[in-house]
Amino acid sequence: MEPQELKGIIGQVKRGRMSRRAFINRMLAVGLTAPMATQLLAIGGVAMAQSASPYKPTKAGGGGTLKLLWWQGPTLLNPHFAVGTKDQDGSRLFYEPLAAWNSTGDLVPILAAELPSTENGGLAADGKSVIWKLKKGVKWHDGQPFTADDVVFNWSYAKDPATAAVTAGSYNNIVVEKIDDYTVKVVFSKPSPFWADAFVSSNGMIIPKHLFENFSGDKSRDAPTNLKPVGTGPYLFKDFRPGDLVSGVINPNYHQPNRPYFDAVEMKGGGDAASAARAVLQTGEYDFAWNLQVEDEVLTRLEAGGKGEVRVTEGGSIEHIQLNNTDPNVEVDGERSSIKTKHPTLSDPAVRQALSLLVDKDSVHKYIYGRGGAATPNFIFNPKRFASTTTKYEFNVDKAIAILDKAGWVPGPDGTRAKDGKSLKYVFQTSINQPRQKTQQIIKQACKKAGIEIEIKAVTASVFFSSDVANPDTYPHFYTDLQMYTTGPIQPDPGLFLQMFLSTEVAQKANKWQGRNITRWQSPDYDKIFHESETELDPVKRAAQLIQLNDLAINNVVVIPVVTRPSVAALNKQLKCELSGFDSYIWDYANWYKDV
């Protein structure tokens, strides 16, 4: 669809000649899907629909205790220090952001009165500022009013280097101004098409100024409220035992009417994923268990218990294989895989093409991951508004052989193909994890048939995923030919995430391997489109650019996507809730209830 045509249709919705629903349906028809469509309307000047969830209970309380089982329990309750999702979730029990991401990757206001849009003047035409209107009448758990001062404070708290906040990335490059008690303005240094980062979702939880202002910077660890959160959420803090249990009781003054449904909440930690699934699906001791990295076959068997069901929620995470563009076997200036080298065989497009044909994604999905991993041709596959429709995948050994033959790679006496004395022998590394080793085997066997020899290497996860500069086995060093792991954009916008193929982001000794570009693939085309997308305010054009970036990475076989890695949770049959792959599992838990 042409941008001009689209603008015309948006105009129709604006003038009321076309309903939002009809517009969204039309967008669906051209492969844009709902979230993209609503975002289009927002920037085109039509306010986003405020989510109207079918919440049935007519009064707050009366639902008993909501029992959550997090097999890794939260260890701290200050969202700005949250190292992992477990800590973000623990903080989310009490703290709320201005807005959160729902299941389709759309923004839903929580502490904001409404979402900023061009129509309500929230989004500046030059894309350089956003004005948030705050909900009035919201009270902290200790009775103090929630105001713009709190929001501004969170910005100054998080960006202070002495605080060493984990959320600093969202706040470092912005300026936040108070306009009045219930309005704040976020100013960006350059036009920012993706404005919903600060104060949104897990990085956006707001902590109270009056309890933290004396504990900013160096003193941040001393704040008593770090352990006894005072938030705005649906439950009041009751007890916290790090790594074991967080509990809360109903907040009678919660800012949404008739909510929450439960009288108390508890989040229990410890143990392992399989028995957590058991406690929900089979014995019903708990209502909800998160992050069930358990074989699908086992989950299906437990589900037969009838007490609960498994919910699979797609986010943006993808298990993928990276191809090294540099030579891992040559050392230059004290580092292997140096950007000054070129991989002797993987630099041949024919070899890369053949490898991508040798990954049997459907078998990996069917026999290893089940519901926990669907095959996909794309690196960016969700939200659907950023998923390319032109890419496809296939598993075809014969075709791979034909490509290699044509490119002059002939089988040697041991069956391994070679050309000019360089043979197709690769070391393929990943972390130690049963599904990953099984996947490695499937790929190794297919490659063997085509005359490519794969040597499998498995590294302990704590080493593979560490940032240890001295250890050559970490994934950022990438001292092998191929490697596989899961990554993905955490927000429903892949802009920042797609840095991982930028020429300037190459991971190397000079930057202590902290660069995001681990494959060390460099392409002027990619860099150019990426930089254009950074300031492109037209969402349609920008989506097209991001899709182009994905296609460049896929068509040049920089990476080979294997399967998507959705989040898997187990929940009680009676529990009604909306989960999101782009936010915390409990992003919306004020609206959870049991249908009894």
Binding site: T75, G84, A165, G243, T283, P476
Partner: protein
């Protein structure tokens, strides 16, 4: 027993504890990974954040410097704070200690209550049917690891029969009898798993030690004086047979804490063991040091207790 003896024992423990701490610290420093590893793979967290956190917590200093820091603070009674939860280590340990002591204590009591009577009775009638059965069960008991019996019990009592919960809660609601009932229900399985395992190995020690004593002349004398079998066993045999058993129980206490680590993980008992596992997995050095230090302290302490108990059980043993 003199005060000087106690003092000497305690002074001897100091170099041992120092050695333990040096070894532990070095091993932890050499282990891969760091507490902020999870941040590395998160594209939304700039690399500078992790660097700032490492600098703030002194993780970039040389190992010996970090060790000295830790040691000096420890000597001042400051256990440091957890990198992961930013809470003081002593607070974390004190929070977990009561549950661990309750579960371990209960399981030890159970083990002794089973082992002493069964062992003595088996020794009184060696190679009888009772002895054979007790021996066989003891063999089975200590051959099965706790993680296996734990899972078996969960499968049977929680899943098949649905009688007992398998998630242990430290904050059980309710009061009075209902609370005790709930506590009993959730403790039965972990306590039984640990207690039976301990009891099984103890039975064999009690039996062999009682058999040694039964053969002694003074027992024959007591019998020939016409004292009943019951009184001979209780008055004359048990007390003397217990001396080696006391050593064993005392020396096993720290090991039980180790065994409890697995049991705590299976039943989600929020004790010291699960704290240790979680901190090792997240490279939380101050907590690992704190917990292992407590364990080391326990070993020293229980050795001392064993020695003191000797003196009580057998006044002939003198302390110099």
């Amino acid at each position: 027993m003199s005060g000087a003896y106690l003092l000497r024992r305690i002074l001897l423990a100091i170099p041992a504890m120092l050695g333990i701490s040096v070894i532990l610290f070095t091993v932890l420093a050499l282990a891969p990974g760091d507490p902020f590893g999870e941040l590395v793979s998160n594209p939304n967290v700039p690399a500078s954040v992790q660097a700032a956190l490492r600098a703030k917590f002194g993780l970039d200093d040389p190992v010996w410097q970090r060790y000295l820091h830790w040691l000096v603070a420890m000597l001042h009674g400051d256990w440091g704070f957890s990198f992961v939860s930013r809470i003081n280590v002593d607070t974390l340990i004190l929070q977990r200690l009561p549950v661990t002591i309750a579960v371990i204590g209960a399981s030890q009591v159970l083990a002794i209550m089973i082992a002493v009577p069964v062992g003595v009775l088996a020794a009184a009638r060696p190679y009888s049917l009772f002895d054979q059965v007790a021996n066989t069960l003891a063999f089975i008991g200590f051959s099965l690891p706790t993680f296996f019996t734990g899972l078996l019990m969960i499968l049977l009592f929680s899943i098949r029969l649905n009688w007992l919960p398998f998630v242990f809660r430290a904050d059980l609601p309710g009061a009075g009898w209902a609370w005790w009932w709930g506590e009993l229900q959730q403790s039965i399985m972990p306590v039984a798993v640990l207690g039976l395992y301990q009891g099984a190995s103890l039975v064999r020690f009690v039996r062999s030690s009682a058999m040694d004593v039964i053969k002694l002349d003074y027992v024959t004398t007591a019998r020939s004086k016409g004292i009943g079998q019951r009184r001979v066993l209780i008055r004359h045999v048990v007390r003397n047979a217990l001396i080696p058993v006391v050593t064993l129980v005392a020396l096993q206490m720290p090991v039980v804490f180790g065994g409890a680590i697995i049991t705590e993980q299976i039943f989600r008992v929020p004790g010291i063991g699960s704290l240790l596992i979680a901190s090792i997995l997240s490279n939380d050095t101050p907590v690992v040091m704190g917990v292992t230090f407590v364990f080391a302290g326990l070993v020293v302490l229980f050795n001392l207790i064993a020695d003191i108990l000797y003196g009580w059980l057998d006044p002939r043993i003198a302390f110099r």
